[in-house]
C-alpha cells in the first residue's frame, strides 16, 4: 500500500519524512482537488441565495454534514455541528452547556494528561462558577485505572471530559467504560477525539457520549473546520455561544428566536469550502481499508518502539497496552529541541516540545519530549530514516 503518491506534498518534497501527523496530517489530492474545484466552479454562499450557485452550495454543505454523520455513525445529521476545530468544539460545550449547569461547589472531572484545549476551557468555567476542576491520575505507563476514576466521581460531578487518545502518550483511553460509568451516574461526558478520529473507528451510537469533538486537519482534511457531535439529549440543553446571522429563525427589535440545531450553533457565513474539504477527507478515509491502515500503523509503532528501547538512555513516555500511533520519548542529556533541529536537517519532521500539554510534562517529570506519529502515508523506510538520523543525533552529542 503506497499512499505517498496520493499526497502531493511528497512530490514537492521527495525527501520529506513526515512524522508529525498527530499535530496535523498532510492532504491527499482528493481533498485538495475538492476544495480547488469547489472554488473554481461551484462557489456560492449557503442558506440564502435563490440562484443556482447558492442552491448547489447549500446542497453540498448539507451533503457533507450527512457524510460526516454516517462516518461517525451519529443518529442524525442534526447531531453534527460544524466548528472551526476541536478547540472551538470544546469551548462550545464549556460555554454553551457547562457554564449554564455548573454551580458553585460543583466538580468537573478531567484527566491529568489532557491537551490544553481540554483543560483551559474547564478551568475558565470552574473559575467563573466557583466550581472545582479535578484530575484523574494516569499511571506511569499512561493508563487510567477505572477504579480510581470511579472513586473520583461524586454527587457534585457535573461533567467528565477526556481524550479518546492522548496526543503525548499515545494511550487509547477506555472511553466505552468511562461513558458507561458516567451514564450510570447521570453525568454528561465529553470525549476529545482529536487524536482518535483518523486512527480508531468512531461510532456515536455504540459509544454514546454526550459530546464528541474533533478537527478536520488531523483527518487529512483542511484546517479551520471541525465537528462537535452533540447527542440528542444535550441539544436542547445547549445555548449558542455565537449569535448573529444564520443561527436565527426570526429577528425582531425586541427579541430573536433561534434556528433549530445544528444551525443555531453555526452563526455567520460558515467555512463552506472547508466543510466540502472535510467531506472529501471522509470519502478518502472511507476509500481505505481501515483494518489494513491500522495494521500498518501498529506495525510501524511496534518497530519504532522496539528500536527506541534498544538505544541506551532513551526513555519512552507512555507505554499503555492499548496504544495508538504517537510515540513520545526523551534521551538523557539531549534536549528534544536539539533532537528536532538535527532531524530537521535530514528532512525529518517530528514534533518536539510540550505538545500543548504542560501538565503531562510535569506528570512525567520531563521539560519536553520528542514525538513521532504516523499517518497513512508512512512506511518502514520512514522509520529507518528516522532511526538513522537519531544515530546521528547520538553521535553529535556523543
Amino acid at each position: 500500500m503506497n499512499k505517498k503518491s496520493d499526497f502531493p506534498i511528497f512530490e514537492s518534497y521527495p525527501d520529506l519524512v513526515y512524522l508529525d501527523s498527530a499535530a496535523t496530517t498532510q492532504k491527499p489530492t482528493h481533498v485538495i482537488d475538492a476544495i480547488s474545484n469547489y472554488y473554481s466552479s461551484e462557489y456560492g454562499t449557503v442558506h440564502r441565495g435563490v440562484y443556482e450557485l447558492s442552491v448547489a452550495s447549500t446542497r453540498r454543505y448539507n451533503a457533507a454534514r450527512m457524510a460526516i454523520q454516517s462516518f461517525i455513525n451519529a443518529p442524525s445529521s442534526r447531531n453534527v455541528v460544524f466548528t472551526t476545530g476541536t478547540t472551538h468544539s470544546i469551548n462550545l460545550v464549556a460555554f454553551g452547556y457547562a457554564c449554564h449547569y455548573v454551580k458553585e461547589g460543583d466538580e468537573i472531572l478531567i484527566t491529568e494528561v489532557e491537551h490544553h484545549a481540554n483543560i483551559v476551557p474547564w478551568q475558565q468555567v470552574a473559575q467563573r462558577k466557583g466550581a472545582h476542576l479535578k484530575f484523574v491520575p494516569v499511571t506511569d505507563s499512561g493508563e487510567i485505572d477505572i477504579d480510581v476514576f470511579s472513586s473520583l466521581i461524586t454527587k457534585k460531578t457535573k461533567l467528565i471530559a477526556m481524550a479518546h487518545i492522548s496526543n503525548v502518550l499515545g494511550s487509547i483511553f477506555p472511553v466505552h467504560e468511562i461513558t458507561a460509568i458516567a451514564k450510570e451516574n447521570g453525568i454528561p461526558v465529553l470525549i476529545d477525539g482529536a487524536q482518535a478520529i483518523a486512527h480508531e473507528p468512531i461510532d456515536m451510537v455504540t459509544l454514546d457520549p454526550d459530546f464528541y469533538c474533533f478537527s478536520g486537519h488531523k483527518l487529512y482534511g483542511p484546517t479551520g473546520i471541525g465537528v462537535c457531535y452533540i447527542s440528542d439529549r444535550m441539544l436542547d440543553k445547549m445555548q449558542p455561544i455565537l449569535f448573529g446571522g444564520d443561527m436565527i429563525e426570526t429577528v425582531k427589535k425586541e427579541q430573536t428566536t433561534f434556528a433549530p440545531a445544528p444551525l443555531r450553533f453555526e452563526a455567520g457565513t460558515p467555512p463552506i469550502a472547508q466543510v466540502i474539504g472535510l467531506h472529501a477527507a471522509v470519502d478518502f478515509m472511507q476509500s481505505l481499508d481501515f483494518n489494513a491502515v491500522k495494521e500498518k500503523e501498529t506495525h510501524l509503532v511496534e518497530l519504532v518502539i522496539g528500536e527506541l528501547r534498544s538505544i541506551k538512555n532513551v526513555r519512552i513516555i507512555g507505554n499503555a497496552k492499548q496504544r495508538s500511533s504517537a510515540v513520545s520519548f526523551t534521551i538523557d542529556g539531549i534536549h528534544p529541541h536539539d533532537i528536532g533541529s538535527i532531524l530537521d536537517s535530514e528532512n525529518i519532521a517530528i514534533r518536539v516540545g510540550h505538545h500543548c500539554s504542560q501538565p503531562t510534562m510535569i506528570r512525567y517529570g520531563v521539560p519536553a519530549t520528542a514525538r513521532v506519529s504516523f499517518g497513512v502515508y508512512n512506511n518502514e523506510d520512514d522509520v529507518h530514516a528516522f532511526l538513522r538520523a537519531l544515530q546521528a543525533v547520538l553521535e553529535v552529542f556523543g
Binding site: H337, S341, G353, F397
Partner: protein, 151 residues
C-alpha cells in the same frame, strides 16, 4: 549530516551544554530575572551581584536545549568582572548578530568566542533559544520586569 548543523553543534557548544559554567545559585544577588520560552518550555533563572557597576558574580539555573544552555554558560563567562556598560553593549551586539543582516566578520568586535553562535541564524526557530538568557540579562539589569518571555 548537513554541514550547517555540524557548524551549529560545535564542540565548544556541546562542552558548555554538558558542563555549563557558573551553573549555580549565588548568594546575595543584587539583580535576578527569569527567562522563559513558552513555546518549548525552556526556563532559566539568572542571578547577578553587581557592585560599583561591576558584575562581581553571576550564576544561572534552569533547563533548556543545548543552544540556550551553552549560550547562557558562555554569557556568564563573558560578563563576569565587566562593567555594566560593557555588558549592555555585549548584549546588544549578540542580539544584533542573530537578528539583523550583518556578516560574521562585523558581528561585533566585543563578542569573541560568542560569535560561534552566529550559525544559529541558519535556524530561525532557534534564535529565541540563543537570545533567551540575554533578554533575561537585560531585564535583570533594568530591573523593569523580572520575568521575560520570548513570546
Amino acid at each position: 549530516m548537513q554541514k550547517n548543523i555540524k557548524k551549529l553543534y560545535q564542540q565548544v557548544l556541546l562542552d558548555h551544554n554538558k558542563n555549563p559554567r557558573n551553573f549555580k545559585l549565588i548568594e546575595n544577588p543584587t539583580h535576578v530575572a527569569r527567562g522563559v520560552n513558552p513555546l518549548c518550555g525552556d526556563e532559566y533563572q539568572l542571578y547577578l551581584r553587581i557592585e560599583k557597576d561591576i558584575v562581581q558574580e553571576v550564576g544561572f539555573k534552569g533547563e533548556g536545549c543545548a543552544i540556550s544552555k551553552s549560550v547562557s554558560s558562555m554569557m556568564t563567562q563573558a560578563i563576569i568582572g565587566q562593567h555594566v556598560h560593557h555588558v549592555i553593549e555585549l548584549k546588544d551586539q549578540f542580539i544584533t548578530m542573530l537578528t539583523e543582516e550583518i556578516s560574521e566578520h562585523d558581528a561585533g568586535h566585543l563578542l569573541g568566542h560568542l560569535t560561534i553562535f552566529e550559525s544559529v541564524k541558519d535556524f530561525p526557530i532557534r534564535v529565541k533559544c540563543a537570545t533567551l538568557i540575554w533578554r533575561a540579562l537585560e531585564a535583570a539589569i533594568n530591573q523593569t520586569s523580572t520575568n521575560v518571555s520570548t513570546e
